[in-house]
Symmetry: C2
Subunit: 334 residues, 2 copies
DNA sequence: CACTGTTCCGCAAACGTTTTCATAATCGTC
DNA sequence: GACGATTATGAAAACGTTTGCGGAACAGTG
C-alpha cells in the first residue's frame, strides 16, 4: 500500500525487487519458471506494496475477463433465489466473479441484457430464457453459454427431471381417491410449463384420472388467487398448480371463501419455495433440487471456460436432479 | 459481424472508413469533434462490422471499469430482493453493469467479497454490512462506497426513517387498547435492530405502554416460531416482531396452538415482504419504501462515479424514505 | 577446453483503446 | 491576398500486463 494514493504497478514491485517486470509476472503466474529465491523476494515486495494486478490490463492481453454472467427472469421470485445462490457460491472459490441481471420477465429486456453482458464476460448462464431460438444461437455464437430450464442445439443445458415428482404426485392423489383434477397452467410459452403439463398428462392418463386444463394464469400469488374460483367452478377435487405461488394464491382465496382444504379441494404446488411450508395448512408440493441444478450449471460453465479445471463430474448423477413429492397439509382423502 | 470469428477492432472500421483509428474513436465518443459526414461514414462502417469497443482496453486507458458492485447479506431474504432489483433497474439504463454478491450473512465472507470486488468495480454499494468500522474504512479507501442500512464516517449512506411507521404502529396498538406489549428482538449487533428498538421504546414510553424485550431471535421464520411460546408466556397482548419473517413464524405457531390472532394476541411485523399479505389473517406490518431507498443508493453512487450525471436529487425527499403502517388482519381490539 | 543443454532472466512486442500534440485545410477579416 | 483563428484529422504515446525470443551464466560431457 503505497503512501500516495496511486496503486502499485508491476513495475514498482519489479524495481523494488531489482528484477524486470517480466520476472515479476512470471513469479506470480508461473512460479516454476523462476528461481526459488528471487521468486520469494518478488513475492515479498509485492506483498509489501500491496500489489494487485490490474485486471483490465490482464484481460486485454489475455483476452478473457474472468467474469461470468447470470441472467434470471426475476430475482424476487423465491424460486430463483436458490439458483442464484448456488451459482454465486460455486464461483466464490474460483477466479471468476459473477454478474447478475434480472429481466423482469421481459423478453426484450432479456435480449438487451444478454447483449450488454456479452462484452463483459467469458460466459453466460441463462436461466429459463424466453428469447427465441435464433436469438439464443446468436448470443451463443459470441460467448459460451449454459442454459438452465431450457434446451437448445446452440448450447449445453442443465435440466431437472420433472417426471419422478409428478408421478409421485399423481400416484398420491390417486391413492387418496381423486379422479378428476385440474392443471393450473403457467405462461404458455414457457418450457417449464409445457414439461409439467406433459408429464402430468401422461401420469394422469396412465392412472385414469381426468385432467382439465385451466388458465394460463400469471405465475404469481395473484394468478392463483384468480384461479381459485375457476377451480371450484370446474368441479374437480384436486388441483395441480403451475408453481407454489399459484398454489398459495388458490389456498388463500379458498380459505377466504370457506372452502375447506384439503377437505373440499386438494392442492399440489410445485417448487417448494420457503413460503410453502409456512402456510396453514402447509402446501403439498413437488420439490426441485435447485441447488444441485445450479451447481451443475456453474460447474458446466466452469469446465467450458477453464479447461484446467479437474474435469469434475460435469453433471451430477441423474438421481440428484430428480424432483420429488413433499406431502404436507393440502392433500387428503376426497 | 466479420465472417471469421474474430471481433472487429477499431482499426478495422478505421481502414474500412478510410480514416485513422483516432477519428473512429472520436466519432464514437466526442461527435462534435469530427466532421458530420465522415462521422456518419464511420458510424455506418462500425455498424456494418458489428464493432463493439473492447471494454478491457477502454478500462485500461480510462482507469475506470464502469462496473459497480453490490453486496447484500442474503439474496434469498425477501427483504433484500426489492433492494437488489431497484439497484439493477437503476443501472440498467446507464453505462454501468452491476456485480452482485451474497455474503450468506457471514462477516468473513463479506470482507472477502468486498476485497475481491474492489479490483473489478468503480464503486461498491454495501447493503447492511456487518464488517467492522475500520474494515469499512479500509474498503472505502480503495473504492467509492455507498452504504445502505448503516452509517459510517467513511462513506455516505442511505437510510430509512423508521420513526413514522413505528409511531403509527404504536398509536394503532394503543388505540386498540393494548397496554403491555413485547418486542421480539433481532440480531443484537444489527443497526436495524437497534433503530427499531429505540423508536419503538420511545413511542411506547410516550403513550404509557409497557414494552418487554424478548429474544434475540434469528431473523427468520424459525426464529418467530420459537418466539411464539415465549410471547404468550410473557403475558402481553401484542407483539412487535423484528421483521415479517419473525412475525409470520409467531403467527404460524400461534394458530397451531389455537391461540387466536388477533383476538388473543396482536402481531405487528416489519418490512412488508410479499408473503406478509398472503397469510391468513394477513399480517399488519410497517412497510419500508425499499424501492425508493435502493434507487437512492444507486443514484448516490452514480453521482459519485459520473460527475456528468445531471446532479439529480441526490436523495429523494425525506418523505419518500419514511416507513408507514399497513393495517391488516393481525391486530384488533384487546 | 570446446561443446551442448539447462536454467534463469531481460527486452520488446502485443493487446485495443483514448488523448495529446502537431499539422493541414478552410474560413473570415482587413 | 496575406494572416490569424478555427476546424478536421493523423501520428504516436500511454495505460499495465503477458509472453516469445534470445542471451548469459552455468553445469555436464567428451
Amino acid at each position: 500500500m503505497s503512501a500516495d494514493g496511486t496503486r502499485a504497478s508491476i513495475r514498482a514491485v519489479a524495481s523494488l525487487a531489482g528484477v524486470s517486470p517480466s520476472t515479476v509476472s512470471r513469479a506470480l503466474n508461473s512460479p516454476e519458471l523462476v528461481n526459488a529465491e528471487t521468486r520469494q523476494r518478488v513475492l515479498d515486495c509485492a506483498e509489501r506494496l500491496g500489489y494487485q494486478p490490474n485486471r483490465a490490463a490482464q484481460s486485454l492481453v489475455l483476452g478473457r475477463t474472468r467474469n461470468v454472467g447470470l441472467i434470471v427472469p426475476d430475482i424476487a421470485n423465491p424460486f430463483f433465489a436458490p439458483f442464484i445462490k448456488g451459482v454465486e457460491a460455486y464461483f466464490r472459490d474460483t477466479e471468476f466473479a459473477v454478474f447478475l441481471a434480472d429481466t423482469d420477465e421481459d423478453t426484450a429486456t432479456e435480449v438487451r441484457l444478454a447483449e450488454a453482458m456479452v462484452e463483459r464476460v467469458d460466459g453466460l448462464i441463462l436461466c429459463a430464457p424466453r428469447m427465441s431460438g435464433t436469438r439464443l444461437s446468436a448470443v451463443a455464437a459470441k460467448t459460451s453459454v449454459v442454459l438452465a430450464y431450457r434446451t437448445s442445439r446452440a448450447a449445453p443445458s442443465v435440466l431437472l427431471d420433472f417426471q419422478p415428482g409428478l408421478d409421485q404426485a399423481v400416484a398420491h392423489v390417486h391413492a387418496l381417491g381423486h379422479r378428476r383434477c385440474a392443471y393450473l397452467s403457467g405462461p404458455a410459452n414457457s418450457w417449464s410449463n409445457r414439461q409439467r403439463r406433459k408429464f402430468l398428462g401422461a401420469a394422469c392418463a396412465e392412472r385414469g384420472i381426468d385432467l382439465v386444463d385451466l388458465g394460463p394464469y400469471e405465475p404469481r400469488f395473484t394468478g392463483g388467487y384468480r384461479a381459485a374460483d375457476e377451480v371450484v367452478a370446474a368441479g374437480v377435487t384436486a388441483a395441480f398448480a403451475y408453481n407454489d405461488l399459484v398454489g398459495l394464491g388458490v389456498l388463500s382465496r379458498l380459505t377466504e371463501r370457506g372452502v375447506k382444504v384439503p377437505g373440499d379441494l386438494g392442492i399440489v404446488g410445485f417448487d417448494d419455495i420457503p413460503m410453502a411450508s409456512m402456510t396453514n395448512p402447509p402446501l403439498t408440493t413437488v420439490a426441485m433440487p435447485v441447488n444441485a441444478l445450479s451447481r451443475a450449471a456453474a460447474a458446466t460453465m466452469h469446465a467450458r471456460l477453464d479447461p484446467g479445471v479437474p474435469k469434475a463430474p460435469p453433471l451430477p448423477p441423474a438421481a440428484e436432479l430428480a424432483t420429488r413429492l413433499l406431502i404436507r397439509g393440502t392433500t387428503g382423502p376426497v
